[in-house]
Structure formats: structure tokens, C-alpha cells
Amino acid sequence: MFRLALRTLRFRKGGFAASFIALFFGAAIVMACGGLMETGIRDAVPPQRLAGTPLVVASSQSYLERARVDAALTARIAAVPGVAKAVPDVTFPLSPLRDGAPVAGGEVSGHAWASAELTPYSLKEGTAPTGDGTVVLDEGVAAATGQGVGGTLDVAVGGKKQAFRVTGVASAASDNRAAFFTDADATRLHGKSGKVDAIAVLPSDGTSVADLQERLTAVIGDSELAVLAGDDRGRAEADGAVGGGDDLIALSAVFGGLAVMVAMFVVAGTLGLSVQQRHREMALLRAIGSTPGQLRRMILGETIVVAVLATALAYPLNLVLGEWLLEQLATAGVTSEAIAFRQGFIPVAAGVGISLLSATIAAFVAGRGAALTRPTEALAEASLQVKWFSWVRLTFALICLAGGTALSIVTALVMSGPVAASTAGPTAMLWASGLALLSPGITRVIIAVLRWPVRAVTGLSGYLAVMNSDARRVRVAGAITPVMLATGLATALIYLQTTSAGGGSGFADDLTADAAVTSQTGGVPLDLVSRIEGREGVGAVSALVDSTAVFRSGEDDDDSATALGVNGEGVQGTLGISPTSGSFADLTGSTVALTTDRAGALGYALGDNVQLRMGDGANVDARLVALYAGSGEETLLLPADLVAKHTTTGLASQILVGASEGTSEAALLTALRGLTSSDQDLRVGDRASLVSSGGGGGGEQTGAWVNYLLVGMILAYTVISLVNTLVIATGERRREFALQRLIGATHGQILRMVGVEAVLISLGGILLGALVSAMTLVPFAYAVYDSPWPSGPLWIYLAVIGGASGLTLLSTVLSTTYVLRTPPVEAAATIG
């Protein structure tokens, strides 16, 4: 049977192209998601700047903000036998300026010259920095700023502009954007006295790195610190010391899972169609003595050959796709740019396994149908309507629909907030699968409903189209299914993003600030608040420092929320939130304000100590001084200086300003623009820019963008399968079209008829797709908003259904045109 399968494959290359395409892209996407997951699990950030340093002592934990090391430890480490040298290493972001504006390429990391040997960097020109206000630039930085030895470079550090004299230009093997200062300057600019970011250890000759690592770990004896070697060293140099692995795991798990389900669905559909197409061949085989089991094995054999081939060829594509996705994720800020794409054999094996498994399951389903073929059907001149209903099918359909309903209910009632999004993919797929299984029956109803309006509008072509669709109901259902999947998934997944973004922007909606001061060079220093407060027309002022905090008393110690550092006095006038009890003015020192929901859930009352772990891993006990009604994304308010102390940069993302009574927005903006004359990298934005940037929730925007990217990838895949299915379904009707032409139908009449059929197919698909997306979105909207209406612009839906109908129409009509190129007499004569 296997040889027969191979022969058939070779003979019908075209017929298997569809299955091949479905398997090929499915395998590539699944493998790439697997690769991303492994990348996330390994969280490998290979060192670049510290590449020349075998061991690095740094914080053992990865936190959002950088955790630091006591500088005093350097001497103790240097005393350990086998250590040739211990170098304290500091890193601080700075923006080189050219003619007052930041140079292209963004931030540069500043270090002490002592760190230069850790890469190692060597001087190309000039000398090491000597004396205050001198700097050595990396080649790249020198080129970008146009400065060379002897020149003067303006940089913005910590929100302040300073000038340095360039004493040298250095180069290193890897591409780094670094600038080196004297130890004194570096310590001052780093701004954390007594602390360094890491201590680099250079072993003496002949010392085993592994042994030394053990000795050092014992000497340090602090679980907060780790002695890093190999790829782990990268954690000490990456900004924020987080590869972003956890986010990557979650993201790739969600989308990888969805990709697996979509791939199974698409492969099963395509394979089913191609088997159906060979209906008469199957019947003939049955008549001359193939048992149902032999037919099943033949289809399985064919499918596995195609699947193995498709998976093997998908491997190179998966590598490109995985790295490209990772790059996009890094650009969007989900992961660190330093994280390296790591794909071992496990994700590849898993990807191959899943692809083969889904192909096998699909082949089993398709083979079951083929095995049920009655041999007498080979004898029938015209192939009859395929029998579709079976109890097995109904049972599976009901299981899928019940599962989908259960998930919908769970989402609506049990889940809350953005977590609810995690059930959306499975819900949509379960509903889509259930409906797909029942689609021939549903199609009958849809055709019955659309029969009269379609006929009334389209005349003879419509009449023929309706008759055809009714007679070929099972096949029409096969075409409706991918339209349903594409529109249903697109609508569900896109509106899921807009709905959750809508939830997050509740925060921005509340904003009452009239202006915001931001910096072009990364952040705004907190002391700017006092300078703004004195200005004319200024009412309320508050800095906004973004970070996260974890409630240590949370059930799983992983109950995190967005921590916003603010100036208590200015909160009401800028963020537009009012305390329900307590006072925001008390937000000074170690204090916190929580939403009433959160405080209630954790059992805190005013005056209680809230145990928090800040973004850099430091524990802070903050007194609860105010409660407020929270909307959308969960936040907690802390004093700006408290949050800034625990962030990498210590800067505010922006300063929100509200106008005093009687001052217009324009007047306030004019008053604030005075600031920029003295400080050129500051920017003043009006209210509109404030709202569009989403206020404090900047992180949500980038996350959403990445979700769109992944959603887009999966949608592209369903669109391929949509076109695929329609092209096969049309090709199958060669003889039918030929017959119509022989009895006098013109090209135009056939194209019109096919066009009306395509409209029927898209209407059916859109209708079912709407049902699928509604079952996903309504519970989600209910979980987030307590309202059944998902939010988001209407044009997206119009674009989705327009795109789906357009594609359906286009692929049907184009493939019909192609089929019609064969002269009718020839086409009518071709077998099967």
C-alpha cells in the first residue's frame, strides 16, 4: 500500500501541493514558536562587553530594574586565591548630542575606563581619559557624533547636559556602543555611591574557571549575589538585567498553542478536501478489493511522506522566522535585545512531532471518510452527494461546542482583567472546530435562507449558483470553513487586543493634565518637578515613574502590578484620580496608595504596612495612606522618589502638568516651552499627545503591537489555507464547467455563476465567523468591563469581512478563469 501511495504522490504532485503548503507553513510556525520558547527558557544573553571576562559577580535574580552590588566586595574578591584582578563595573545610559540633538542610534552605555579591558577594548588613537571631564569613545560613537580626539562632546546623562573632552577612540571585536570616563566621573554619573553594577573577575594564569567560580561563591556567601560564567554573564551587562525570558515563554506558549490548533484544523481541512477529490479512485480501489483498513493506510502513507518532506523543508524557514520574530520582540521591548535565539533539538523535535501528529490525525479523519466509501460509487457516473453525517462526527462536534461554551463561561465569570485573554485562543478554536464539523448541516440552513434574496438579485447565474451550492452542500461547507476560521480568528484576536487596550487606556481617559514634559534622551530628572511648580499658570505637577512592584503577601508571591511613582500633591490635578479615603498628599517617604479592589482583596486598611518587592528586587514596606477606585489595568501609586530609587535610570518617563484655574492650555504650553530653551532635549507635549501615548501605560502599547504581529502571522496562515481550499475546490469542477460550456454557457455566465457562489460562501463564512468571535469576545469583554460589548473601531471588522469576501471572490474567479482556458471538449473528456 505504501508503494501505491508513493506512486500516487508522484503522479498527482499538484493535488498534494495544498496539503504540502498547509503542513509546510504550519510546521515552520510551530517550530519557530518552539524555538522562541526555548530561547525564553534558556534566557541566554551572551555577553558582549564582558566577553573578555571569565567570571562576573552580580545580582543572582533577574529583576525588571537593575539590582546592584556593594562596591566594598571588590577588595574581598581580589583577595581570593586565583583571582588576578577584580574590576568594579558600572553602566549608565547616556545620550550623545550633536548640535543639541540626540544622535541617531540612540543611547550609549557609559563605563569607567578600568572596564575597558573586560571586553577587551584597545585604544586606536589618543590616550586613556585623564582628569575630570574627559572621555574615550567607541569607534561607532565617534563616527555617529562626528567627534575625534581633541573634540568636545555634549552628552545628556540623567536628564542633564554635560560636556566632555575626547581624549581617545577605542575599538573592540564586538559591536558595542560604549563611552569610557575616569573612575571619578563614572562613579559620579552612575549616581549610586558605594554600589556598582557588577564585579568582573579575571583569574590568574592556570586557574580553573569552574573551581574559582565555586570558591568565589563560597567566599561571597550571599544568596542575593551570583558568580556568573558563560552565557549567564550577559545578564550582568544587559540593561535591566532581564532577558525577558518569562514574557517570551508566555507569549510563545500562547501563540505556539494557537498555531498548533490552527495548523491541525487547516491540515485536516485541506487533506479531507484532497481525499474527497479522489473519491472515485477510492471507490474503485474498494471495488477491486482494498479493505477499508488498506485505504486508511494508503492515505496515512501519502500524508506522512508529504508531512516529512514539508517538515524537513520547513526547518530552514523556521530558523529565519524564529530569529526575525525574536528581533521584532526585542525591538518592541518585550525581550532584551541581547537575548540570543537558541533552538536546540527539543523545539525542533516537538515541532516535527506536532506537525507529524497533526498530519496523522488529519489523515486518520480523512481516511475514515474514504474508507466508508461504498464501492458501488465507482460505478456511478456522477459522484453523488457525499454523506457527511455520522454519530462520531456529531459527538465530536458536541464535545467541541460544549468545551467552547464551558471556556466562554469560565472566562466571563471566573477570570478578570487581561488574564482572561489567555482562554480566548482555545475558545475560538473549539467553537470553530465544532461549527466546522457541523458545517454541512449549517450550510443547508444558510443556503435555504439566502436562496430567495440571491436569486432575486442575480437572475439566472444566481439560480444556477444556488442550485449548485445546494447540490454540492458538503463541498460548499468545506469552503465555508476556512472563511469562518479566518474571519472568526481575525475578529476575535484583533478585537481582543483593542478591547484589552481599551481597558488599559481607562487610565489615560482619566488624565486631567494639560501638558506633559518628556525628554528625548530617555528620561526626565525628578528635580524638574520643583522647577515647573514655580512657573506661571501651572496648577498641579506630578512626575510619572514607571516600574513594577510585587505584593509579597500575594498568594503565589507573584502578584505584580504597575507601580507608578508620582508626586502626591499633583495626582488629582494631573492623573485625575481622587482618593476614596485617605489623602494622596501623604504620599511621601515609604507610603503607598492602592485601588480599593486590590486593598480589599489583600485585606489591607489605611495605615497598614503593605509589603512590596520593587522592580530591582528590593523589599519595601510602605504604609497605606490612600485608597482610590481603580479602572482598567491595575496600578499602585508610590512616591516618585521611592520608585526612582529602585529603577535603573532613576528618571521619570514624563512630568504631567495641569493648568491653574483660569489658564488656558495654550498659555500653559507657552509657559512650559520656556524650559526647553535652557534644556534642549526636553519636549513639551499637549493634551492630545498625552492621551495618544496612553499616559502611564506605555508598556501596554508595545506589547499589543507584538500581539498584532503574531496574530498577523497566524492570520496569514489561515488566509493561505483559505485560498488553497478555494483553488482546489474550483479545479475539481473542470468537467462540470466544460459541460455547461458545451451546452451553451458563455465564459461570462460561468464566471457570474461562480461569483455568486463565492458570495454565498463568504456570507456563510462571515456569519459563522461572527458567531465564533462573539463567543470569544463577549465573555472577554464581560470579564474586563462587565459589559458584553468588546471595544475597538468598527472599521477593523469591516476590513476583516471585506478582505475575506474579496479573497474568496478573487481566488474563486481567478482559478475559474484558469480552468476555463482548457477547451471544453478536452476538459469534458479528462478522467476524474
Binding site: T291, T376, G832
Partner: protein, 252 residues
């Protein structure tokens, strides 16, 4: 009676459910003797194809019994039926007889390979010589004429040395001369090796090659002829109303 290779006993076949079903066979009993050439004739809708399908185990009767080469077919499951068909029956259809992906030799070998048996090269060569296709062994069906394709189908039916060969309008898609060649081939198989052949046809000329013609009308046996002539068959068909609108003379 013991020499009957196929025996139908009060076979009824109803399509659809009992209330508004279509009765295709209304109690047919007949026996086919080993080594004979039988033609089943009847007007459209007389149930002749259904009769063939039931006799060949392709379709299950609603009631009654079918005994094929000493085996009772009723009660066998699909797998057992397939096995029995594969070992004891050869098939020739009106068209689409061959798998387009396989060449002539492979198509002929297929039933044996499906049964997990080795196809002896000599056997294949022999049946292909018998149907006159020794020079077309490696052609694909698409490269053969309609008559050649039917001859491949006969070769495929002969290769398993079946107890019966069933033909469903085997000459229906062929021109007169090619049809005569194909009928002569079947006739020769009956004469030379004692092969049993049963065909369904509506062509009196085709039927006249048979030893015996059985007439069906409205799902029941409406008579039979031994050693028929085309003329006699045509007249009987006219009586059955098959060509009621046409003058009988056109039949010859």
C-alpha cells in the same frame, strides 16, 4: 443446482426508509451456473445494476440471501466482504476502471498486491497476452484508447482467477467494433478456461454473446432466453417496454 456459483434467494433491496423508500429489487431468485456467460437485461430502473451489486457483494440486500462460490454473503462485515470480493470476484466497469497513477502492469497486479500476494511476472504476461496488450505494458491509462483500457480491466479481472467476473455495462462506453472485440475476449475466457461471466447491459448485440439472458422489470425477473440472438433479445426488450417510443427495427 449444486453447480451454481452465484445464487440469489428472494433478494429484496429497498433504498431509503421503509415508508417512502424505492424498491429496486422485489424478491429476485436466480442461479448462475459455473462456466457460463450470462447477461442481465432490463429497462432503466428495472433493478439490473442493483441485482449485480447484490450478487457481487458490493451492496447488501435488505432481505434474502446471496451465496457466492459456496459462501453466504449476508451477515459478513465490510472487511470480510472485501476479502471475499478480492479473492473470488473480478470487476469490469463502464469507465474509470484503472488507477491513473499506475501503468498497465501495475494496474493488473493491483488486486493481488492488495491481497498481499506476489504477482508472478509470467502470470501477468500471460493475461496481458490473452487480452492482446503485450506491447502496452508500461503505458499509463491516459495513453490508452477506451477499448485498450477495457482490455486492461479484463486482464485485471482475470489475474486473480476469480470464481465470477462481473461487468457493469462493460461495453457501454465503446464503439461497436471495439465492443465486439471486448465481448469476444470475455466469450473466449468462458470457452477456454471455463470462466464464469455475468454482465449487465442494455445492448441486445452484447447480450447475444451470452449463453443465457435474464430479463428484469420492476425489480422482478421477467423471463429469460437461452442461446439468444440479438433479434430475439430486442423483441423481448420491446415487449418489456424498454423501447416503447421507438420502432423495434432500429434495435438491430
Amino acid at each position: 443446482m449444486d453447480d451454481d456459483v452465484v445464487r440469489l434467494e428472494s433478494v429484496r433491496k429497498v433504498y431509503g426508509n421503509d415508508r417512502n423508500g424505492v424498491v429496486a429489487l422485489a424478491g429476485v431468485s436466480l442461479g448462475i451456473r459455473r462456466g457460463t456467460f450470462t447477461a442481465v437485461m432490463g429497462p432503466s430502473g428495472s433493478g439490473k445494476s442493483t441485482c449485480l451489486h447484490c450478487a457481487a457483494g458490493l451492496d447488501r440486500p435488505t432481505s434474502g440471501s446471496v451465496v457466492l462460490d459456496g459462501h453466504e454473503l449476508t451477515g459478513l462485515n465490510e472487511r470480510e466482504l472485501t476479502r471475499l470480493r478480492r479473492d473470488r470476484i473480478g470487476f469490469i466497469f463502464q469507465s474509470f476502471n484503472l488507477l491513473p497513477a499506475l501503468n498497465v502492469v501495475e494496474n493488473v497486479q493491483l488486486p493481488l498486491r492488495l491481497a498481499g500476494r506476489k504477482a508472478k511476472r509470467a502470470d501477468v504476461d500471460e493475461v496481458l497476452a490473452r487480452v492482446g496488450l503485450s506491447d502496452r505494458k508500461h503505458h499509463r491509462p491516459g495513453e490508452l484508447s477506451g477499448g485498450q483500457q477495457q482490455r486492461v480491466a479484463i486482464a485485471r479481472a482475470l489475474i486473480t482467477k476469480p470464481a465470477v467476473i462481473f461487468g457493469d455495462e462493460p461495453t457501454g462506453a465503446l464503439d461497436t467494433r471495439t465492443a465486439l472485440e471486448v465481448l469476444a475476449l470475455m466469450r473466449r475466457a468462458v470457452r477456454d478456461v471455463g470462466q464464469t461471466v455475468v454482465i449487465v447491459t442494455h445492448d441486445p448485440v452484447a447480450a447475444s454473446h451470452a449463453d443465457r439472458v435474464i430479463f428484469l422489470a420492476d425489480g422482478q425477473i421477467a423471463g429469460e432466453l437461452q442461446s439468444p440472438t440479438a433479434h430475439a433479445v430486442g423483441e423481448r426488450m420491446t415487449q418489456l417496454g424498454a423501447w416503447a417510443d421507438e420502432p423495434a427495427g432500429t434495435v438491430n
